[in-house]
């Protein structure tokens, strides 16, 4: 797959296959196109797909509206979660959950049922109870925002989760909690793409495959040992190996 923004090519030649039950890590230096890949999969506007295709559960993903992709089980944990002033977290989440239910043909949850579900899922990421009464992401600390993303993942029970630098801005305790949450949600039916700079998170969320993205291209793919190698040697050797890239 190739992707451009305003005529500038950002992804040029991504080839990935993720099977149910697998965890794939995508690593790479800043600006290599990791978030772009995540956004394109989730259906964000503003990217031009110049070549290639994406198939999700047997369907062409790229023609689908972002909300439909979400309802079909694609979840993006945002690198920078967005604030929506004046919209209480509870109402936002209840709407989201009920949209998912409607799509599956389930009855919407009542206020009581929803609160119960929320209490249960909050425990998973040890989210401060008071946070869900605030406006969406407003006044949340960096760590709280990331926990809140995983909390939403727990509520929506996606099939494919894309975690875009969910580890950045987390202290070690928070990192463990978040990783624990992600692992708890794992099942043979769900897949995860973990986007990260660092090996650190991969100690807790163990990947089946690790891919290195550099200048919009996957330059190396291997098992989890690749992450350790990167940690040791840094990205410089990747950069050197691919120095004659455009």
């Amino acid at each position: 797959m190739c992707v451009s923004v305003e005529g500038k090519e950002i992804l040029n030649g991504i080839n990935l296959e993720i099977k149910a039950g697998e965890v794939h890590a995508i690593m790479g230096p800043n600006g290599s196109g990791k978030s772009t890949l995540a956004n394109v999969l989730a259906g964000k506007d503003g990217y031009e797909i110049t070549a290639g295709e994406v198939t999700y559960m047997g369907e062409d993903l790229l023609v689908q509206a972002p909300e439909d992709r979400a309802r079909k089980g694609i979840f993006l944990s945002f690198q920078y979660p967005v604030e929506i002033p004046g919209v209480p977290m509870v109402s936002f989440l209840k709407t989201a959950v009920n949209e998912h239910r409607k799509f599956r043909g389930d009855k919407p949850l009542s206020a009581g049922e929803f609160l119960k579900l929320m209490r249960e899922k909050k425990k998973l990421v040890e989210l401060d109870t008071e946070l869900t009464n605030r406006s969406v992401n407003e006044g949340f600390s960096g760590g709280e925002k990331k926990k809140n993303e995983i909390f939403q993942m727990a509520l929506l029970e996606p099939k494919l989760s894309i975690l875009d630098e969910t580890d950045s801005g987390l202290d070690i305790d928070a990192l463990k909690i978040v990783a624990h949450g992600v692992n708890a949600l794992k099942s043979p039916e769900t897949s995860t793409i973990v986007v990260t700079h660092y090996q650190r998170l991969l100690d807790y969320i163990v990947p089946d495959r690790v891919h290195v993205l550099y200048k919009g291209r996957i330059v190396r793919s291997a098992g989890k040992e690749l992450a350790l190698e990167l940690e040791e040697k840094g990205y410089d050797w990747i950069k050197k190996d691919n120095a004659n890239q455009p």
Partner: protein
């Protein structure tokens, strides 16, 4: 609260302006045109006391010498005041004592609008005065209110039953020659609501006037007068709709509020006059004068408005803070879409010492509309230790609409503090995508984001109205994205 979200979605996808129907009832309409004889005719038809003829003619003569105001940020097409009929009323009966007498078509109209006139059916004790084409057709819960000494009736009834009260207070807040449209209203107004809350009484229910324009080629000129005597409290609601028509219709109302010592009046409006179609054809021209006087010490007047309708809105609900320690508030959401134009805001005139005022204005513009906030905060030299806080925010959807802010501040002494904050933002693509990614459609996302933006104002509305207003905001923005 989000229970309603599904309903909202349903309504959003269902219709553009769902109040656009016309009721076929027999209507008495007088000849088009305006002159002294027409003013007399209205006075005669209404069987008003003598002082009202004086009042009306005086207003008419002032109006003749005045000109249409042109200072607002509005493009107002010329209005032919001779092409309008100044009196229209359902013919059957001026006022109904029991519901059995009400024209079933009319009953049905109000039911369709969600305003049941059958008291037993009524939601949670809101007393309603229903005004159609300038005439009050039914006031509910009158007896219950009377037990507390509260007078809540149509303006016509008030002139018959309580002429002295009306005479004492009418034009106290809005003098006859205050402005072009107030003068016109004073000359030709046909009905409206009157409300008097006696000393020490807390009104046990919300009072509400529901205005409906039905007849074609008529103007609607109604007048509301609310008097809250010492230590009393009342919360008042106003709603309005009109059929969809290709031609413009004029609405020029006057609302006056008088608050005596320690009295408090909350006045809430959800204005949903027909806004015209997507090409800007038709719609109501809404030129309204609303003003309250905090006459007594520690009195309080609070205006809350949600403005989504009308082709043109020209409206500045204001407070004259005469009493020491009095409080004035203005909370406003004004939404314009397509070709709508709104120039709205408030005036806070501080005359009493230690008087305080708060202004929160949230403008939302979409389509090719123009939305202006215009506000005056004036603190007189003798009004020591006054405070004002103003917050004026604008939210833009798309790049073809306009948002403008015209704040005027005059502070006459050094012990008073005036603060003004203003922001302009665009509805964030990132916010919409975030909602989309959680399975929420763009239409719903916008409704949600806009309601969040307006939350501070919506929270000031009585519960049922808040729900109604949320839906309205979402519906009014339908088709404004993509």
């Amino acid at each position: 609260m989000m229970e309603n979200q599904d309903n909202i979605l349903h309504e959003v996808t269902q219709s553009d302006y769902k109040y656009g129907f016309y009721t076929d009832i027999e209507t008495e309409v007088i000849e088009k045109g305006l002159n002294e004889q027409v003013v007399r005719t209205i006075w005669e038809k209404k069987g008003e006391p003598d002082f009202m003829l004086e009042f009306r003619l005086n207003a008419y003569r002032k109006w003749l010498k005045m000109e249409m105001p042109d200072w607002a940020y509005l493009k107002i097409p010329p209005i032919d005041f001779q092409a309008i009929s100044y009196y229209a009323a359902p013919r059957k009966k001026p006022k109904y004592e029991s519901l059995d007498e009400v024209d079933p078509e009319l009953l049905d109209t109000f039911n369709k609008l969600g305003i049941p006139l059958e008291e037993q059916k009524h939601l949670s004790g809101v007393a309603v005065d229903a005004v159609i084409d300038s005439v009050s057709v039914k006031t509910t819960f009158k007896e219950t209110l009377a037990e507390k000494g509260i007078i809540f009736c149509s303006f016509s009834e008030a002139l018959k039953d309580h002429p002295d009260l009306v005479k004492k207070y009418i034009s106290m807040a809005v003098p006859v020659g205050d402005n072009y449209f107030a003068a016109l209203n004073s000359a030709v107004f046909s009905d409206g609501s009157f409300c008097y809350i006696p000393k020490g009484v807390r009104c046990p229910m919300e009072l509400s006037t529901y205005f409906r324009i039905n007849a074609a080629n008529t103007g609607q000129f109604e007048r509301t007068l609310i008097v809250a005597d010492e230590d009393s409290y009342v919360s008042y609601l106003e709603g309005c709709t009109a059929p969809m028509r290709d031609e413009n219709q004029l609405h020029a109302a006057v609302v006056e509020i008088i608050a005596m010592d320690r009295a408090e009046v909350k006045y809430s409006t959800v204005q949903n006059w027909y806004p015209g179609d997507k090409e800007g054809r038709g719609g109501i021209f809404n030129f309204v004068t609303k003003r309250g006087i905090c006459r007594g010490e520690s009195s309080k007047i609070s205006w809350t408005q949600v403005e989504t309708g009308s082709a043109i809105t020209w409206k500045y609900p204001s407070c004259i803070l005469l009493g020491n320690n009095s409080v004035g508030e203005f909370y406003s959401v004004a939404l314009t879409n397509h070709h709508q134009q709104a120039d709205t805001g408030t005036k806070m005139i501080h005359i009493g010492k230690n008087s305080r005022s708060t202004i929160v204005s949230k403008g939302i513009s979409a389509g090719v509309s123009d939305n202006s906030y215009r506000g005056l905060v004036k603190i007189m030299p003798g009004a020591a230790n006054c405070r004002n806080f103003s917050q004026c925010d604008s939210l833009l959807m798309g790049d073809k609409c306009g948002a403008h802010t015209f704040p005027y501040i005059e502070v006459g002494n050094s012990s008073s503090i005036v603060e003004h904050e203003a922001t302009t933002s665009k509805i964030g693509e990132d916010q919409i995508f975030y909602c989309n990614q959680r399975g929420i459609s763009t239409e719903d996302a916008i409704g949600m984001i806009v309601n969040g933006y307006a939350r501070e104002v919506l929270n000031k509305l009585p519960m049922e109205f808040a729900v109604e207003a949320q839906k309205l905001l979402a519906i009014s923005l339908e088709g404004s994205v993509g």
